[in-house]
């Protein structure tokens, strides 16, 4: 119960902070924002690694390995594609 309330505190604060931050992103950058947030959601890699590396059964470890691969696609693909997009935004021609 105690732990739950503290979790709620953290969640609510992070949510409020997230809303403030995202609202400030200009429409110009909404596509990289989407892909960037998507990359962050690859944080599931943590659980995937634990299962892949210390799963109770062979099946669990195999599932975990695939999960690591999936999460990695999400992370690597997400960050790179975001970077590719952001690189293109220039203030002046040819700058």
């Amino acid at each position: 119960m105690e732990g739950l309330v503290q979790g709620i505190v953290v969640f609510v604060l992070a949510m409020l902070l997230g809303v403030e931050l995202i609202k400030k992103v200009p429409a110009l950058l909404h596509t990289p924002l989407t892909s960037g947030a998507n990359a962050i959601s690859g944080i599931t890699i943590i659980g995937s690694m634990v299962v892949a590396g210390a799963g109770a059964t062979q099946l669990a470890r195999i599932l975990g390995t695939i999960a690591v691969a999936f999460a990695m696609i999400n992370i690597v693909g997400g960050y790179l594609v975001t970077d590719r997009m952001l690189e293109m935004f220039k203030k002046k021609d040819g700058e």
Partner: protein, 464 residues
């Protein structure tokens, strides 16, 4: 001690994610922010590897394969396919959640470990959200890539079916909490979540996919936060909340830019039917539209002072962004000022047009958002509509019975002249007639946008 250090590392990672999102507010710093965010991810990964006794073999195999595929996809994807790409990436994220939940469920039913209800709940939630995200994102990407029809697939009793499936899934989840040791129940839940992902997304139109993707992404964030609750990991809670917030805000922005409720997007079957023309529209259609030749259009553009380009989904389909930029450069050399009016939901992703034009080296200060662009149309000699339709449809202002009524639009009809480039008189995503095309100051330049733009470029070159 080690545990506290790991927690601090996760906190550091979360703060770096925050920084990444924060710096996304300025185009000058956004790229560095994204890098900081990725370093945060690296820290989270390293902290996990160091703090836990893990067999590295499987992890390395998975990571190498995943990184390779991710790298390749990120390099290969053309800018015009960004919406699909984000959809696919989102699907893989969902898939990872699903797989982890499945593996954890195996552990959950291990008799040697005491059973915990909250862990069970988190596992069913991750399974459902993960499965729906995986299958739903695949359908969304398929619709955007037009492998699957972009039209909403509707049939009688659809809502009832979906409601039934959701009820079944929840029942299964409850049953599993009581009898977790039944593998068949769990497999059924996985299957159900995948089916749900399909049946929930298939009735939604292709152009509404970005809403679906953002929403699913936001759910995966919330599922991650839920896992964070269960294993008491603040880093996970924060990260999940950030992702959740971003998806929700983007969803809200899109819905507001369309003046449609989220329920309408998800369950309305919007764009399913081409609306039958009203009396007034029939009269208009009978009168027909004005056409303009490439020569006349080129002359009009070349001898004007202010041109505003209003791009839409057709520009992405035609992949004509480089031609737009080339035409603009030519005009600018002749002293014409060219700017771009970007509607928030033009194209198939929020900010889609900005990315396309940035790829073609258009400096971003020329990309005006709707609020900045609309007051400028009055002073505009030519508004050049390139493959946009719904986002420039004056019915949103004038016709209370229109399905897009109330949607804020680009006021191209305030310009002195309007040129619309599209291939036919076919409607846009909303499936409705566009009175703009019949406007007395509007003329149509039919054809694929890229081809028309190339022709215009050549024509402008010949002038003088």
């Amino acid at each position: 001690m080690l545990h506290s250090l790991t927690e601090l590392a996760y906190l550091a990672a979360a703060i770096m994610f925050v920084t990444g999102l924060k710096w996304m507010s300025s185009p000058a710093r956004a790229r560095r922010g994204n890098m900081i965010s990725s370093v945060g991810m690296l820290i989270a990964v390293l902290a996990t590897l160091i703090s836990q006794r893990l067999g590295y073999g499987n992890i390395i195999i998975g990571a190498v394969i995943g990184s390779g595929l991710g790298l390749w996809m990120a390099r290969a994807v053309p800018m015009t396919s960004m919406p699909q790409m984000v959809g696919i990436l989102n699907g893989f994220g969902g898939g990872a959640s699903l797989l982890v939940a499945a593996a954890e469920w195996r552990r959950l039913i291990d008799p040697s470990i005491p059973f915990q209800t909250d862990t069970a709940v988190s596992i069913w939630a991750s399974t459902l959200v993960g499965g729906v995200t995986f299958a739903g994102s695949a359908v969304a990407a398929g619709k955007l890539q037009e492998i699957i029809s972009g039209k909403p697939v509707l049939f009688r009793g659809q809502h009832a079916l979906n409601a039934l499936l959701v009820a079944a899934a929840l029942t299964l989840a409850t049953l599993l909490t009581l009898r977790p040791e039944q593998p068949v129940l769990y497999v059924a839940l996985v299957a159900l979540s995948l089916v749900l992902g399909i049946t929930l997304v298939i009735p939604i139109g292709g152009a509404d996919m970005p809403v679906v993707i953002c929403l699913l992404n936001s759910y995966s964030g919330i599922a991650a936060a839920l896992t964070g609750f269960v294993i008491r990991n603040d880093g996970l809670i924060i990260t999940g909340a950030l992702v959740g917030a971003s998806g929700l805000i983007l969803t809200k922005i899109m819905c507001e830019a369309m003046n449609r409720s989220l329920a309408n997007v998800l369950f309305g079957g919007f764009g399913a039917t081409v609306q039958v023309a009203s009396e007034r529209e029939k009269a208009l259609q009978a009168r027909g539209v004005k056409r303009i030749t490439v020569e006349d259009a080129a002359a009009l553009l070349a001898y004007s002072r202010n041109v505003m380009v209003a791009p839409g989904y057709g520009l992405a389909v035609a992949q004509g962004q480089h031609q737009v930029q080339e035409l603009a450069t030519l005009l600018e050399k002749r002293g014409v000022s060219v700017k771009y009016a970007i509607h928030p939901v033009a194209g198939r992703m929020p900010g889609h047009m900005n990315v396309l034009l940035a790829e073609a080296n258009v400096p971003y200060p020329l990309l005006l958002d709707m609020d900045a662009a609309n007051p400028e149309f009055e002073r505009c000699d030519v508004a050049l509509v390139v493959g946009a339709n719904d986002v420039v449809n004056p019915a949103a202002r004038n016709n209370p019975s229109s399905p897009i009524y109330g949607m804020p639009i680009l006021d191209v009809d305030k310009a002195k002249q309007i040129i619309v480039m599209k291939r036919s008189m076919n409607p846009g995503f909303a499936g409705i007639e566009n009175e703009l095309f019949y406007h007395e100051r509007c003329s149509m330049l039919f054809g694929d946008a890229k081809k028309s733009l190339t022709a215009l470029i050549n024509e402008v070159r010949t002038l003088e």
